[in-house]
Subunit: 302 residues, 2 copies
């Protein structure tokens, strides 16, 4: 038996999730005035799969635990989660997806009003960058600058926000698979891949392994979205913690509408196999958590 097969994700995940939750609770500013801090905390704490932070932490350990800068990786992990959280807050607003349920709770604008939701999202994005430059000298400047650039590129018009714009413009259109993949590569793939690469930067992953990790991140990100589309069809609202069936209701193109349910499931399986192969090709010594996260993406129920 090899190390990958023996790896038990549960305790690894529990330990890292605990660190992430604690750090988010420490850093998501209760001191922001006039209820803003409370809205920001509601937007981020007590919910979410935390896949992006786990990818950061797993990638940061991939060259070996001693190569990892724990402080940097935890900051990067929280930064990507704040970007993800703010995007959900804005995405749920009436002018976007107009959703009332997220992570089994009322969405932020339902709970606190649209203006607070808008501001909390804006403040969370700024906080993400603040976390990457702690200002106390605990992170090397070069690493801070690299992480800020990676995050900005993944979040902006050439990444997540650009993908959301394509998504908006695609309602009711028949996209080709190439167009649909391009949209998702920006909308969710860019931040998922950036999570892996920001973790790699925190963990001093050797340059010859970076392209393989990027490949892993790309395939995992796309698989995540394909699984999301499948779950939107086969799961129910209670299990998802968000409104099921809304893609079809909103006439949005999905991998299921494009290729059918069974074919979409096969495609997700193939993408994850490719992601795992990239990990093997990387030659990195501690990729068991990254393997296990790929398994988890393939097997998730919400």
């Amino acid at each position: 038996m090899n190390a990958v097969a023996e790896f038990d994700l549960a305790p690894w995940m529990a330990r890292h999730l605990s660190a992430v939750e604690q750090a988010l609770s420490d850093w998501v500013c209760p001191s922001a005035p006039a209820g803003l801090g409370q809205t920001m905390r509601y937007s981020v704490l007590d919910g979410g799969k935390r896949l992006r932070p786990l990818l950061v932490l797993a990638a940061s350990e991939s060259a070996g635990p001693t190569a990892a800068s724990g402080g940097a990786a935890l900051r990067a992990a929280c930064a990507v989660e704040l970007i993800h959280a703010y995007s959900l807050v804005h995405d749920d607003m009436p002018c976007m997806d107009n959703d009332v349920l997220r992570r089994g709770k009322p969405t932020v604008h339902v709970q606190f009003g649209q203006a607070q939701a808008l501001l909390a999202g804006d403040a969370l994005q700024a906080l993400a960058f603040e976390l990457l430059v702690p200002g106390d000298g605990s992170l090397p400047d070069g690493l801070s600058a690299h992480l800020c650039r990676s995050l900005a590129l993944a979040a902006g018009g050439g990444g997540m926000a650009g993908g959301q714009a394509i998504d908006l413009a695609s309602v009711g259109l028949a996209l080709s698979q190439t167009e649909l993949e391009h949209m998702h590569r920006l909308k969710t793939g860019a931040l998922l891949q950036a999570s892996v690469m920001m973790g790699a930067a925190c963990g001093s992953v050797p340059s010859q392994a970076l392209a393989h990790l990027a490949d892993y991140g790309r395939c995992l990100g796309l698989a995540f979205q394909v699984v999301d589309d499948v779950l939107d069809v086969v799961s129910d609202t209670a299990t998802l913690g968000k409104t099921a069936g809304k893609d079809a209701d909103q006439d949005k193109p999905t991998f299921v509408s494009l290729m059918g349910l069974e074919q979409a499931q096969t495609y997700a399986f193939d993408l994850l196999a490719h992601a795992r192969a990239a990990l093997v090709s990387s030659g990195l010594p501690h990729v068991a958590p990254l393997h296990a996260l790929a398994d988890w993406v393939g097997g998730r129920r919400h």
Copy 2:
């Protein structure tokens, strides 16, 4: 006659504004997909006083033109303007101030719809941080990291977004002068002061002068808001390029409602005198543009 009295702001301003407009046009991404780039450009180009970029550039030259890193200062100048521009786009949305006119043009959500306005604002914030880390080695990592932290703090829950939250919560309330100043210190003062300090960082201003520049930025920022409140009462919509009289219409506390028109004008004058005194105390050799910008804030008509 001294150098300050002889300084002619107009050609200095024309030269620097031209550089800023060109850089914004180059950097605000036309390539962002599905109309997002067009919306971002509409939000930023062809309008605005560019006070924040001019403060960055003036502060960057204050220790002497040779101390200034032109490339860094121009990036910082555009970054603060992008943060300002995104805040206006979101602030004008129906769930916030619900305004239809800005810089004499339809506001972004009127022109492109609320969803595009929301996304363009989000993407502009990310782009601001991207500009501060060019990724080509043209800025020292330490400077990039410092600028990112300064901008994040000025924009976030403890800065601009926090001030907007206080503003929202203050409608219809009778604030004390201390409370009103606290709101404005966050809402507009933080980014104006950060513009000065980010410029100083780009211009290698000696540490003993920094507290004086911070004092200048603080007083100028507050004076800017007091003048804004005065103009909202005494000017008209055509001159302002945005809806006049809206503070009173929205029952918002202002310096005019708190202390009366004449007293507010005197207060702005006193704050600007304090700002000029701080420049003298700084001992910096090239503060004529900063002096002239203080004069300009005091004399502006829109």
